[in-house]
Symmetry: C2
Amino acid sequence: MALASVNLTKNQKTVLDILENSSEPLKAYTILFDIQKKGIKSPLQVYRALDKLIEIGKVHKIESRNSYVACKHEGCNAKTSTSFLICENCDSVTELTGNNLFSYFSKQAEKNNFNYKKHNLEIFGLCENCKLKN
Amino acid sequence: MALASVNLTKNQKTVLDILENSSEPLKAYTILFDIQKKGIKSPLQVYRALDKLIEIGKVHKIESRNSYVACKHEGCNAKTSTSFLICENCDSVTELTGNNLFSYFSKQAEKNNFNYKKHNLEIFGLCENCKLKN
DNA sequence: CTTAAAATGTTATATTATAACATTACAATA
DNA sequence: TATTGTAATGTTATAATATAACATTTTAAG
């Protein structure tokens, strides 16, 4: 079995490609409108590709924005958990990697007798560029 | 100016009431269907009440589930930031309060030259009850 | 009282996502 | 290579979530 990325199907590659070439997260219907020339005609085709890409960790969903972003980390282990810095000014998104987050959240959960499995974290504020401009 | 809770309007009270008496987060249309006997007829009436309740911190939205939960903390300051433990088995939700989260996230953001303003955190796993049952 | 801001009621519509089902591609292996 | 089971596809329809627009009413402060 080769790497997951090698096995992507046509639709999956098409969707991943547009996400990887975007400087910001994209919405499912934005993706759809942008690639209707490439053989994808229905929302379901986009959502199915996204589901698969999320499953293998190549794409993450940003829940509070209903948008999707390609993961830039080679062997990203964030198949389940995600942590983002989201700029309220320019909408840029940076993924946090340091996995001390995992152990920190485990401890927080522990205090409540809760068994940590995974998390979504979205931090909002100003990115470096926008801080300087304001 | 009295406390915000005193100033709630009829629709806002109706929506808050159903959320406070629910053991789990509710979706907007679930709320709508449940209270159509109380004079609320359209989705917009529910969403407007929710918007206001969220604004004053009496209700929080759980982004990954498109659902809403009443805040049980008297003077909840989570008007903007929220932190939840969400049980994957029974869908129960507990809100985290310890605001060491704030300073922790500030530091994480700082490392990326990002100016922290607020956050949403959703931790998934098993609650105490469901841990024992499994 | 007056008045300005907020909330309401209502209809329509936009946005996000999935159901259902028939068909096709594809890799493993007998 | 023929078989076969799994995954992916294509397509139409529809479900679920949320907002636009606008006329009207309520409310609370001065």
